[in-house]
Amino acid sequence: MRGRRGRFALGAALVAVPLALALLGPLLAGEPGPRSPSFTVGGGHPLGSDFVGRDVVRQVLLGGRPVVLTALAATALAYLVALPVGLAAALTHRRGLEELLMRPLDVLLAVPSLLLILLVATVFSPGAVGLAALVALVNVPDAARLVRAAGAEAAARPAVEALRMQGESWARIAFGYVGRSALRTLVADAGTRLTGVLYLVATAAFLGVGVAPDAADWAVMVDRNRTGLFVQPWAVVVPAVLIVALTTGTNLLFDAALDSGGARDRDRPGPRRRRLRRTGPPGGRTARKRATAGRETPA
């Protein structure tokens, strides 16, 4: 119990810093000061200057919001599409429908995601919203396949048949039961996907699509300031640490939340199985272990 709360606190603390920066940073950033030469240390900049001579502190303050917003939005959007598609494929008994849902997505899978983003973004030059949608789109096939695989077993359980016989709506069966059963796997995937999405946006920026390549955006900062890593490490290290904190914290929170929720099956063995081993020949003396009163088996 204590462990879980501890993890919750740790996760929350880890997430709090980047989130607070994302929320409040732009308010604190103030007006841009004069530029310095690129990658200088000190000189009125506590964290030095970046690749175009801007103050790293200010960039860090400004750079959280787009990262958090785009990454969260794109991940959420990807799952918004992938969940129904994947679950529908898992739940249907019509092979045709399943193929109809999944095979076109496979086509998208065959194009490396960076290339797809590069191509589509160059052709259609979408804005920030469009880019988030695009990044989400690139993630949909992958996520949908995963949802399908994770949900396939649960989708064929008698419980689903029973729900159907009750006339439950498709959504309730799919999200309420099948999705719920695969929750842990889905959350684990969403957590890593979040990180992937973040850098996809940054790499796209570097290749010249989506966000401006000098945008105040932590992921873009990590990417663009890397040339100066050995001259002025802060411009890379600080945003990188913030991103790590954000993704690690989010995942820790999810993990902790999952461990509390969800009843376990009653057949789950408790860790304290009291067993007395024979020390002598059968029927001989037995070493005793007493179950102390008032023990709790963990949830």
Binding site: S38, F51, G53, T122, V231
Partner: protein, 493 residues
Amino acid sequence: GTGTDADAEAGGGSAPKRGGRLRAAFAGGGASETLDPHLANLFADVARAKALFDKLADYGADLSAQPRLASAWEPNAALDRWHVTLREADFHDGRPVTAEDVLYSYRRIADPDKAFRAKASLEPIDLAASRATGARSLEFVLKRPTAEFPNVLASFGAYIVPEGAGDFDRKPVGSGPFRFVSFAPGRSAVLRRNDAYWDGAPHLDELEFVVANEESARVNALLGGQVEYAHELNPTTARAHEDGGRISIVRLRNSAMQAFCMKTDRPPFDDARVRQAFFLIADRQELVDGALAGAGVIGNDLFGKGYEYYAGTLPQRTRDLDRARALLKEAGAEKLKVTLDTSAVAAGFTEAAAVFRDQAREAGVTVEIRMGSKDSYWSDILDSGTLCCYRSGAMPIEAHLSQRLLTDSTTNATGWRHADFDALYRQAQSTRDRAERGAVYERMQRRLHTEGGFLVWGFADWIVGTARSVRGVDAKAPANTLDWARFDKVWLA
């Protein structure tokens, strides 16, 4: 030019040593690379081409033409017929370089079905009328007087190949300092010393070009001893290693002009006052510091700093926001909004755009940055948009003028079309006397300085890293000139 380490040591007088293998890392063109010298496009192509082939002439450090395979050239009085004598040189297969080879090479370049890059440069030559006057002498007939004809002979990509050569993938034969050994497109090219080279055999036994597109990979390979020469390093990398002692950094000054290009034929830049205002908005030092990480010098809105005929006497323009605002007001362009096209096509472009955007804001001008596709950037900016980032490698000032600033120039990105300006150019080309010609060029440059379309804010260094053992790397030659990437003069200590 302050001498760098390598420079000092090279000049330090230690005698060149023969032997060894030098591996040079360049950014390359991937699996589509070829050894066809006429297709040379990237630095890697050019470096390979100049190791295998020769041109009739090449550019010196001040971009004046230096004789190479041509030992002498002599024009007629009207400057429209040039007599060129070839020096005694042999191709790698032992055949001598003849006038026929030259004519074949030039005709190949000018083939209307192909579109070799040097074709535009050779345009002044009437190849049908030109002819060999002997085994090693020939007469070029020109379409119009061209005082700067030797520049044509030195132009980018105008390499001399043996007559009939067409397939350069298998075993290219040239007259250059190195012979072909092997080639894997996008990976490496191995060459061996040509002992019979007319300009003296190279010191190196073997030369290998390897391709590494990522700058950090080139640096790492250099630091890890996997290559001895790494072309095109970041200023930041240079800063980190300049006094680190593990490698030597060579800065090739004035290698690339950095500019913003204003379209003078359309609003708002059709008004000279707006152009002048923009000249005054730019804080050049900040641009050099921010976009080039300090690796360069500021520009004065003119191409070719330090080159032959450069109008160095014109006063350096400095930032003056008040005058800029006044000029804009005069032109009725207060609260001006312009779109600045940029792309990741060249180092520093996007950075320069961002820096300039901030500078313009201080003058009340809103600059909106538009990122373009880097693959089609150059052709996109040629006709569309009003303001864009621009860059140019080293070339003679004359070539810059003729290719970019005449009414019929093929890449007139500033839309600079003025009959009187064209006339000045023609006048220069028919002026035999060098000093007189210089005066005409200065008049032209003065005009460009006051109201031209190029806001030239800086000249970038080209940075080369070498292992400490590498000697003889010329530190004064801008990229693309004769002494740049000239591996026949390099040796390993």
